[in-house]
C-alpha cells in the first residue's frame, strides 16, 4: 500500500502545482493579477479618476517584459468554437462564480493595458505593426498603436492603406495623436481623400480642416474637396473653412457657387453658413436668393440660417415674416414658432395682464411664477397669497387659462405651462372660484379641445358645482374631453359626491358605444366601479 500512496501523493501534488503555475503565470501587483487590474481599467468610468489612475499605475508598476507579452497575447486572442458555448451555458445555469471572458473581452482588456502603459508600450511596436497585416486583428492593433504616440506614426500611416476600411477610418481619425508635425499630418491625410470609402474621406477632411494653423497648406485642399461635390465630405470642407477666418475669404467664390448651384444639399447649406460666418453682409444676398427660390429644401435651409444670422436687419425680419405664409407647412410653422419666440423674448408675459391684483408686494403673475411642488400644487405661501387675493384674482386667472402666445395665437409649451398654473390657482381658490363658473361653462363650448379640458378641470375646486361641467364634458365633441370627464367621475370630483355622480350613469351607458375606443374602455371600467348593477345590465362582466 505504501507505493500506491506515494504515487498518488506525487500525482496530486504535481497536478496541483501545474494548475497553480498556469493560474499564477501572469504578473501580479499588490496581490492582484494583471487581468484583474486591466478589468478595473476597462470597467472604470472616466470620472472615477482615482480608481482609474490606481489601476493604470498598477499596470505600469509591473515588469514590462512580463506585461507586454501578456497584453499581446490578449489582443491576439481568437474566438474558438467551444468557448462561447461554455460561456453561454455558464450564464444559462447561473454559474457566475466562473467569470469567463469572450475573445472580444480579452482584446478590450489588452487595449486597456496599452492605454495604461502609453508610450511605455513602445517595445511592442513591431508586433503591433505586424498584426496590421492580420485581417482578424488589424483593428485591435491600430487601437493599441495610437497609445504609443509618436513612435507609432509610421505604423499608423501604414494603417491608412489597410485593406479594412474600418482600420483606415480609425487611423485617419486618430492620426493626429501620433503626429508631431502638422505638414506631415496633412500630407498623409491628403492621400486618404482619394480613399474609396466615404467614412475614411470624411475623417481625413475633418482632420485636415482642423489644422487652422496652416491656412496656406489647408485652404487649397478644402477648396478642391468642396469643388469635388463629394456629399458630406464637401460639406465638411465647407464647414471647416469657417475656422480659418479672413484667410478663407479666397474661398468666397467657390463657397458662393456651392451655395447657389445644383441641387440643394448639405454642402450648399454648409457653404451658405460659412459665407454668413466669414462675411455676413456680403453673404446676405446669397442667403436671400436661396430663400426666394422655388426649391423647398433650399428655402428651408435659408430660413434656418436667417433665423440665427449674425446680423439683424429689416430685410431678414421681413423675409422670416414672409415665410409664415410659405406654401410649405413645415417652413411656415418654423417661421411662426421663431417669431413667437422672438416676441416672447421682447415682451414679458406678465405685462400682458396689466390689471393683476397684488398681495405682499407681488402681483398675481409674480406669485404664479414660483416653482410648484412635485405634485403640481403651489407652495404654501403662494397658495395663501392666491387665496388672499380671492375673487380679485379670477379675471387674471381666466385670461391665463385661455392664453395663447401672440402674435399667431400658438399654444406653445410656455403657453400651456401658464394655462396649467391658472388651473392650479383656480383649484386653489376653492369655493371662492364659484363666480368664475359662468365663464368656465361658456368655455366648455369652445372649439379648442384643450380650452374645454382646461375649463372643466379648473372648476374642480368649486365642489358639487363642478359636477355639472363634468357631466357636460361627457357629451363633448372631443374624445379627450369625454375621457377626462369620465375619469373624474371616479377619481376626482365625482368621488367626493357619489350621490350627484349617479346622474352620470345614463351618460356612461351612452359612452359604452362611443366611437373612440379609449373612451369606451374608460367608460366600461368607470361604470363597473360606480354602478355595478347598471354595468351588469349592460352586459359588462
Amino acid at each position: 500500500m505504501k507505493k500506491p500512496r506515494a504515487i498518488l501523493f506525487f500525482a496530486l501534488i504535481a497536478t496541483v502545482v501545474v494548475i497553480v503555475k498556469i493560474a499564477t503565470a501572469e504578473p501580479h501587483y499588490r496581490g492582484r493579477a494583471l487581468t484583474s487590474w486591466l478589468q478595473q481599467c476597462s470597467d472604470m468610468p472616466m470620472d472615477e479618476t482615482q480608481r482609474l489612475a490606481e489601476a493604470r499605475q498598477a499596470v505600469c508598476a509591473m515588469p514590462r517584459d512580463q506585461v507586454l507579452p501578456r497584453l499581446l497575447q490578449m489582443i491576439e486572442t481568437r474566438e474558438d468554437t467551444v468557448s462561447p458555448w461554455i460561456i453561454a451555458k455558464c450564464n444559462e445555469f447561473h454559474l457566475h462564480f466562473l467569470k469567463w471572458r469572450s475573445a472580444e473581452d480579452l482584446q478590450l482588456l489588452g487595449i486597456a493595458g496599452f492605454e495604461a502603459l502609453g508610450t511605455n508600450a513602445s517595445p511592442a511596436l513591431t508586433e503591433l505593426t505586424d498584426l496590421l497585416r492580420d485581417p482578424g486583428h488589424a483593428f485591435t492593433a491600430v487601437r493599441c498603436l495610437v497609445y504609443l504616440r509618436q513612435p507609432a506614426e509610421p505604423s499608423m500611416c501604414q494603417a491608412l492603406t489597410n485593406a479594412n476600411p474600418r482600420v483606415r477610418q480609425f487611423a485617419a481619425q486618430q492620426l493626429f495623436w501620433v503626429s508631431d508635425d502638422a505638414e506631415t499630418f496633412v500630407a498623409h491625410l491628403t492621400n486618404s481623400l482619394n480613399d474609396p470609402d466615404g467614412n475614411v474621406r470624411f475623417e481625413a477632411i475633418q482632420g485636415i480642416g482642423a489644422q487652422t494653423q496652416c491656412p496656406d497648406l489647408v485652404i487649397p485642399i478644402l477648396i478642391r474637396t468642396l469643388e469635388r461635390q463629394d456629399g458630406n465630405i464637401s460639406a465638411e470642407a465647407a464647414s471647416a473653412l469657417a475656422g480659418f477666418g479672413t484667410n478663407a475669404m479666397r474661398a468666397f467664390v467657390v463657397l458662393s457657387n456651392a451655395a447657389v448651384s445644383g441641387n440643394f444639399s448639405a454642402t450648399a447649406y454648409q457653404a451658405m453658413q460659412t459665407l454668413a460666418t466669414l462675411a455676413p453682409e456680403r453673404a446676405l444676398p446669397i442667403v436671400l436668393q436661396n430663400f426666394h427660390c422655388a426649391d423647398r429644401d433650399r428655402r428651408h435651409g435659408a430660413l434656418l440660417l436667417l433665423c440665427r444670422y449674425p446680423l439683424k436687419n429689416p430685410a431678414i425680419r421681413s423675409a422670416i415674416e414672409e415665410a409664415v405664409r410659405d406654401e410649405d407647412p413645415k417652413i411656415a410653422e418654423f417661421a411662426r414658432n421663431w417669431i413667437t419666440g422672438q416676441y416672447r423674448d421682447e415682451h414679458s408675459v406678465n405685462n400682458q395682464f396689466p390689471n393683476d391684483p397684488t398681495c405682499g408686494g407681488k402681483t398675481l403673475g409674480q406669485w404664479l411664477e414660483f416653482d410648484r411642488n412635485p405634485d403640481g400644487s403651489f407652495r404654501e405661501d403662494v397658495h395663501d397669497a392666491i387665496v388672499h387675493m380671492g375673487t380679485n384674482a379670477i379675471p387674471g386667472l381666466l385670461a391665463r387659462l385661455v392664453y395663447v402666445e401672440p402674435p399667431y395665437g400658438l399654444r406653445t409649451p410656455e403657453a400651456i405651462e401658464l394655462n396649467v398654473r391658472a388651473i392650479c390657482a383656480l383649484i386653489a381658490l376653492g369655493r371662492q372660484a364659484i363666480p368664475a363658473l359662468p365663464q368656465l361653462q361658456a368655455l366648455m363650448d369652445s372649439t379648442n379641445s384643450e380650452t374645454v379640458r382646461f375649463a372643466m378641470i379648473a372648476s374642480s375646486g368649486t365642489g358639487s358645482n363642478a359636477i355639472s361641467l363634468f357631466l357636460k364634458g361627457m357629451t363633448n365633441r372631443f374624445a379627450d374631453v369625454r375621457n377626462e370627464a369620465a375619469a373624474n367621475m371616479t377619481e376626482g370630483v365625482g368621488a367626493q359626491f357619489p350621490d350627484l355622480r349617479r346622474q352620470a350613469i345614463p351618460l356612461f351607458m351612452n359612452l359604452l358605444n362611443d366611437p373612440d375606443e379609449d373612451v369606451r374602455m374608460n367608460a366600461t371600467n368607470q361604470l363597473k366601479e360606480i354602478a355595478p348593477e347598471a354595468a351588469a345590465r349592460a352586459g359588462i362582466k
Binding site: R5, T15, I19, V20, H94
Partner: protein, 165 residues
Amino acid sequence: MKTHSYFSACGRWLATLAAVMLPAVSALGDPIEMPEKSITPEISFLIGAAIFFEVICIWLMLRRSRTPRFFILWLVVMHLITYPSFLGSLWLLQNLRPAIAAGIGEGAAVVVEGFLIYFICQIPSHGNSAMATPSILKCLSASFIGNAVSALAFPVFISIYDRAF
C-alpha cells in the same frame, strides 16, 4: 483496527491535499464571489448523469480486474472530491479561454482520478481476490475513457435539456 488506520490515513491525505489547495486559491488574490443562488437542480441533474456515465464506463473497463466491494460507490464518492476540485481548477484558470481551461481541468481530472482509481483498487477485496489488481496504466486509461465519455455526454444532455424545456 486495520480499517481504522486506513481511514485515518485517508483523512491525512485529504488534509494534505486541502493544505496544498488553499495557498493556490489565495494565489489569485481576488475575492471569491459566491453564486447568486445555489447551482440549479437542472445543472446538478445533468452533471450527475454525466458522472454516472463516466462511472459506468470505468466499471465496465475494470470489471475483469480486482476491485473492492461497492466499487461503483467508491467511484461516486471519488467524484464528490474530484468534481469540486475540477470546478476549483476552472476557477483558478478563468483568465484563460474557457476551452483551454476546461481542457487543462479535464486533463488534471484524468490524471488524478486515474491514480485515485488505482489507489481504490488496492483496497482489500473479498469477492474477486483471484483476479489481478489493475495496473496504473489501465486505471489511467479507464479514467481517460470515462472522462472522455462524460465530456461528450454532457453537451448531449444539455442539448436534450434545451430541446425538452
